[in-house]
Amino acid sequence: MLTNTKCECGHQNPVGTVLCEACGLPVQQEVAESDGLLEMRYEGAARRSQKSNPKLLDRIWNFFSSVKVAVYLIIITLLLSILGTLLPQVNVVPSYDPASYYAEEYGKLGELYYSLGLADTFGSWWYKGLVLMIAASLIICSLDRIIPLYKALKKQQPVKHETFLKRQKVLYIGEVADAESWLKEAEEAIRERRYQVTREGTSLLGEKNRFSRWGPYINHVGLIILLAALLTRGLPGWYMEQGFSVNEGQTVSIPGTNYYLKNLKFTEVKEVGPHVSGQELQFAFETDAILYRCVADCNNPFAEPQLEEVLQHKIRPNEPLKYDGYSIYQIDYAFSPQATIMTLNVLRDGQPIGELVLNLTDPAPAYQLGDVSVELTGYYPELTSVDGVPATKSRLPNNPAFILDMTLADGTTEQYFVVPFQQYQTRISGAEDSEPLTFEIGGMEASFYSSYLMVKVERALPYVLAGALIFLFGVVIGLYWQHRRIWVRIDGSRLIVAAHTNKNWYGLRDELAKILDKTGIEIDAKSLDNSGVGKS
C-alpha cells in the first residue's frame, strides 16, 4: 500500500511518519482525522527501518525493532528465570548424577524439571539465546528510534502548524496588541528560565534540557555492555569457579590453573567478641597459604613438579589471595585429623641404625640407612585382609602397613611386614638364626584441618561495573531533567502558545504561567491544561 506522505507545507516525509517533520501537521491519516491530543513519541518521526516494500533483511530487522517483540522477549525470559529458581540448579546439587537426584529428591516433578532442562536454566543454550535476542532487540530498537529522534530534534523549525499547536497538552490562546513588543518580552522571559530561543518571523521556539531525551538510550548502551560482559563468561579463561580442598602441610595443584597452593597452617581465630554474654565467639578462620607457579614437570607423576614461590598470604573470608586475575577464597573447613608423615626408628639388638621417614600419601620406594638399603615394596594405607591376603580399605593412612625389603651390609636380604599402629611386625624372609630388626614409631606429623577453598576468575567484572554505571548515568539524566519546549505563534493579533515536556507536566504549566505573567498575561497554571481537547 502506498500512502502519500507529502505534507501540505510541501515537505516530503519518509514512510511511517506520523507528524510532518517540518511543520508538525499530522500526516498519518488516522491521526489527521481525529482531533485529540497528539502523540509526541519520537516527535512523530518514522522509525528508521520502516519501508514500503520490506525484504528478508528488513523483516528480520523489523522483528527486532518492535517494542512489542522486546516486551514479549523480556516476559518469556522473566518467566523462564522464575522457573529456574523453583528448584536448586545443577551447579549446587550435591550429586554427580543429577538426573536421578532430581527424581529422588523431588519425585515426578523433579524428573520433569530435569528432562525439560530447567535444572540448568541459566547455563542453557536457549536461555543464553534469549538474552542475546534481548540484546539484539535493545540495539536495534534503540538505533531505529534514536537516529530519527536525534535528526528530528536537530532540524526543528520554530514555525509550527496551528493544528500541531492546538493539539498539544499545554496550550494558551489569547490576543496581543503589539506582536513585536510582546515577542521581545516573551523571548526575554523564556531565556531567563534558561531556555534556548530561536525566532522566525512572529514564531518562537524555546527549548531546554534536550539531553534528557538521550537518557533511555544511554541506559540501553549500559545494558548492552552489561549483557555482552556476561556473555564473555563463555570465553575460555574469562570465567571459572572451582572448589578444592587442601590439608595442612599439603601442596595441591589448583584446578584449571598452572599454580600450586600449600596450606602451611589452618587456624580457627577465636576471640571474645562484644557479645553480651561474653562468650567465646568464633570470628574467623584462616589458611596461611603459599602460592607457587609450576615451571616444569607439572603433569609428570614420576617427578615432583618444579615450583617457584609466588607469594604467601593468609586467606580469610573476604580476604582472598589475589594473583594474576585469580582469587582464592576461604569457603569452609573441616576438622579431619590425619597422619601425613611417619618416622620409624629401625633398631638392631636394641641399637638404632637409622630412621625411615615415610610420606604416607605417596611414599618414596627406596631409602638408605647407613649401610642398610631399604626398598619399600608394599604399602597399604588402611590395612585389611581380603581372603587372607593383605589389602587396603581406602587411600587414607588410617592404619598403614609396609612391606620393607632390607639389604644388609653383608649382602643378605630380609623382608619385613610392619603395621606400626598395631605394634605388629613379622619377618617374612631372611636368615632364621639372626635377631630380627625392630621398627618403632619415632615421630608423626599430622594435618588437623582440611581447608576448603574456591578459586575464581571473573575477568568481565570491570565491564559489568562499567555497564552498570553507564546504565545509572542514563537513568539519572533521564529522570532528573526534563526536556521542555515552548512554541509561540502570532497570526495578526491572535497568540497561540503551546508547550511540551517528556515528564512533569505540572511543572511545565507552572513555568509557562510564570513566563506569561512576565509578559502581562495573568493566568492560572491549571487553565493551561489542554488534556480535554477532542473529548466532548
Binding site: L132, A135, L143, L376, T377, S394, R395
Partner: protein, 176 residues
C-alpha cells in the same frame, strides 16, 4: 539507503556471530562421554614410565578400566581382565588400567602380586572426572574408531550376569 543496509548487515552479523559463539561453546561442553560418543582423548604416564595417549590406539579395540587396590570388586575382576588380555592380545585388543590416584609403591606391589601385564596408567583424578567415573570399577569398551560401544559399571564376570559379561562385551567389540 545502501549505507544503512550495510550497517544493518554488520550489526546482524555481529549478533549472529556472538550467538553462534556462546551457544556453540555451550553445546560443546560435554560433562561425561556416553555410549555411542567418541571417547575423549587423554594422555597419562604409565607405571612403566612411558607416556600413553588414547588416540595412539585408534585402529585397536580398547578396554579402558578404572580401578584401585582399595576397591574390592576391582581387585576381584583383575585376574579376569588379565585373562582376557592374554586371550585377545593377538587379535589387537588393548587393555588399559587407569589407577585411581594411589601411590606407585601400592600399585607396583599389587601388580606384582596379581601378575598383571597390561599397561597401568597413573591418574590424579583428571581422566576419572573427564570420563565421569564415580563408581568403581567402571570399564569402557572403545572400538577401533574410538567410539565408546559399551560402559560397564561394577564388577565384571564371565557368563553369569549378561549385562556385566566381559567376554560378551569384548566379542562385540572385536566383531565390529
Amino acid at each position: 539507503m545502501a549505507r544503512n543496509k550495510w550497517v544493518q548487515l554488520t550489526i546482524l552479523a555481529v549478533i549472529i556471530a556472538a550467538g553462534a559463539f556462546t551457544i556453540g561453546a555451550n553445546l560443546s561442553k560435554t560433562p561425561a562421554p556416553k555410549v555411542g560418543e567418541t571417547a575423549p582423548n587423554f594422555s597419562l604416564y604409565g607405571l612403566d614410565g612411558a607416556a600413553y595417549e588414547l588416540n595412539d590406539f585408534i585402529g585397536h579395540p580398547v578396554v579402558l578400566n578404572f580401578w584401585g587396590s582399595f576397591c574390592e570388586p576391582c581387585v576381584r575382576e583383575m585376574p579376569l581382565l588379565q585373562k582376557k588380555y592374554e586371550k585377545y592380545r593377538d587379535q589387537g585388543l588393548v587393555v588399559l588400567g587407569v589407577n585411581l590416584d594411589e601411590s606407585t609403591v601400592t600399585i607396583n606391589n599389587f601388580i606384582r602380586g596379581m601378575n598383571i601385564t597390561f599397561p597401568i596408567l597413573l591418574d590424579k583424578n583428571v581422566v576419572r572426572k573427564q570420563y565421569g567415573v564415580y563408581n568403581y570399577p567402571t570399564t569402557f569398551f572403545i572400538d577401533e574408531k574410538g567410539v565408546i560401544r559399551q560402559e560397564i559399571v561394577g564388577e565384571m564376570n564371565e557368563g553369569s550376569l549378561p549385562s556385566h559379561d566381559i567376554e560378551k562385551a569384548i566379542k562385540r567389540l572385536l566383531s565390529g
